[in-house]
């Protein structure tokens, strides 16, 4: 068998794109749009996720000690608590500190606490932070066996609430992202299908002239890949522009929200775009071709 040259196939692909201008343009436009939407939504999800992470403060347990413990006993308890693997940080809060923060919380009525500073009725306590809600039970179990612990208070309700919101929001968004992804792939494949469809005559003539399936397909598949590549590069720049202009107009008004700078995500976005663009481009043409090369 004689040799076929790679340059031939690439040349054919480029020629195909050029000579079928209308179709190539429409395909690139559609592919690009899908990628932009997909990318924008991913950026949204990533940002939401990052901002939700910051809500983690609620992951702590306050451990109240018995009244009238000696300093040694307290230090000993601290040592025992620190032994608990699941406890991330352990911070001692003296009775005075506790009273002061209570007074502060009363706001307007802080003066009500004045009397107590002379003879503090509170005990020392420890603030334990942990990483995961699941650790809570273990930590509490361990605490029960420590002498001198009067009681402890977790923020289970708040924790659960926040974690519910987080997982709910993420669930909805990830679900949405998946849907968007499926729809995009579907749209892209359909678009490329249409464009291959409008060239089915050309394909059948190739068959009549004795071209094998792969010889016909390769330029079309390369066309799909090149269109995908074009589309993803354009989509990247559109995305950058959109994101930056959004951050620009949003950044001023809200400070508590942290927006991830585009540069941090740029590489990943470009890579994912190219992967999706090229893959769907190739898939789209392969799928539609198989119908017409079998004659």
């Amino acid at each position: 068998m004689r040799r076929y040259r790679v340059s031939y196939f690439i040349g054919q692909a480029l020629q195909g794109i050029w000579r079928n201008g209308v179709m190539s343009f429409a395909s690139i436009a559609v592919l690009m749009s899908c990628l932009v939407v997909l990318g924008a939504f991913t950026l949204l999800v990533v940002n939401i996720n990052t901002n939700l992470e910051n809500l983690d403060e609620a992951n702590k347990i306050i451990v109240f000690l018995d009244y009238n413990l000696t300093e040694e006993q307290i230090v000993d308890i601290e040592r025992q608590i620190k032994k608990i693997k699941e406890a991330e940080t352990v911070k001692r809060i003296t009775a005075d500190e506790a009273l002061r923060s209570l007074a502060k919380r009363a706001g307007e009525n802080a003066l009500l606490y004045d009397d107590y500073f002379k003879d503090n009725p509170l005990s020392d306590s420890f603030e334990i932070t942990y990483d995961d809600v699941k650790d809570l039970t273990t930590i509490e179990f361990e605490l029960q066996s420590i002498e001198g612990v009067r009681k402890y208070r977790d923020q289970r309700y708040i924790v659960n609430l926040i974690s519910d919101i987080k997982s709910g929001v993420l669930f909805v968004f990830l679900w949405f992202l998946v849907m968007l992804f499926i729809v995009s792939v579907f749209i892209i494949i359909n678009t490329i299908k249409l464009s291959v469809y409008s060239r089915k005559n050309e394909i059948s003539i190739m068959r009549y002239v004795g071209a094998t399936g792969w010889f016909i397909s390769l330029p079309f598949i390369l066309e799909g890949a090149i269109i995908g590549l074009f589309a993803s590069i354009i989509a990247y720049f559109v995305e950058e522009y959109l994101y930056k202009s959004l951050v620009g107009s949003l950044g001023i008004s809200i400070e508590i929200i942290t927006l991830i700078p585009f540069s941090e995500l740029a590489g990943g976005i470009l890579a994912v775009f190219i992967i999706i663009g090229v893959t769907t481009g190739i898939m789209g043409s392969s799928i539609s071709l198989s119908k017409y090369t079998k004659k």
Binding site: R2, G16, E202, R207, Y208, V209, G210, T212, F215, K294
Partner: protein, 225 residues
């Protein structure tokens, strides 16, 4: 060598285009196929090309029953045929040059051979100046000649031409027929479908006459009608 053995072709819509055709064509023969419009001439060609499948019967080309050819072998089989289609079947988005070159690229002909041969072929059919045109920029007869040039591109051992002079003036028709005869003299098998009485009568070759899907006459030097 082509052998039709009791070939029947019925199209999906029920039209019986060929009815029990048995026909033997030797290597190196020159055969005219004539017959009224709708007699089944093009269908006969399509069966040889394996564009359509037989309904029943066998077609043996060079000892291979092409009705049993697998999908993967069809392209390779077709490369030994040079076909001029009644409707030309040129690539609309390729130039004349590329149209002819494509047939050669398909079989993996090296670039430098293509660059030499395509202009020569276009010269043969008198279309040298049109090589950069697209098919829709050509007249009917010119397109037909491009189809002929493409059919000849790979030096096939069997040439099938369906009305190769249908859109061509008498002078050019004679030239083309002479060209086909010359090729035939080189040992190639040539099958020409035509309705041009003059040509058939003039060349005194074997004539197969089809009528309503059956062969009603088949002899050398046979007169048309």
């Amino acid at each position: 060598m082509i052998d039709f053995v009791h070939v029947v072709k019925t199209y999906p819509n029920g039209t019986v285009a060929l009815n029990d055709i048995t026909l033997h064509i030797d290597d190196g023969e020159f055969v005219f196929v004539v017959g009224a419009s709708g007699a089944g001439k093009t269908t006969l060609m399509k069966l040889i090309l394996r564009e359509e499948k037989v309904t029943s019967g066998k077609i043996i080309v060079d000892d291979v029953d092409i009705t049993k050819l697998s999908y993967f072998k069809v392209p390779h089989y077709r490369r030994n045929l040079g076909v001029v289609f009644q409707d030309f079947r040129l690539f609309p988005k390729k130039t004349i040059y590329e149209n002819v070159a494509f047939a050669m690229q398909v079989v993996g002909t090296p670039m430098k051979v293509i660059k030499r041969r395509v202009p020569a072929l276009l010269k043969t059919v008198n279309l040298s100046e049109k090589s950069k045109c697209f098919p829709n920029e050509l007249s009917g007869g010119e397109q037909q000649r491009v189809a002929l040039a493409r059919a000849l591109a790979n030096n096939p051992s069997l040439i099938i031409a369906d009305e190769p002079t249908g859109n061509i003036d008498p002078k050019m028709s004679l030239e083309i027929m002479n060209l086909l005869l010359k090729i035939n003299k080189l040992g190639k098998t040539v099958i020409v479908v035509t309705h041009e009485k003059n040509l058939v009568d003039y060349y005194k070759q074997r004539v197969v006459i089809l009528d309503h899907g059956t062969i009603i006459d088949d002899r050398v030097g046979g007169m048309y009608e």
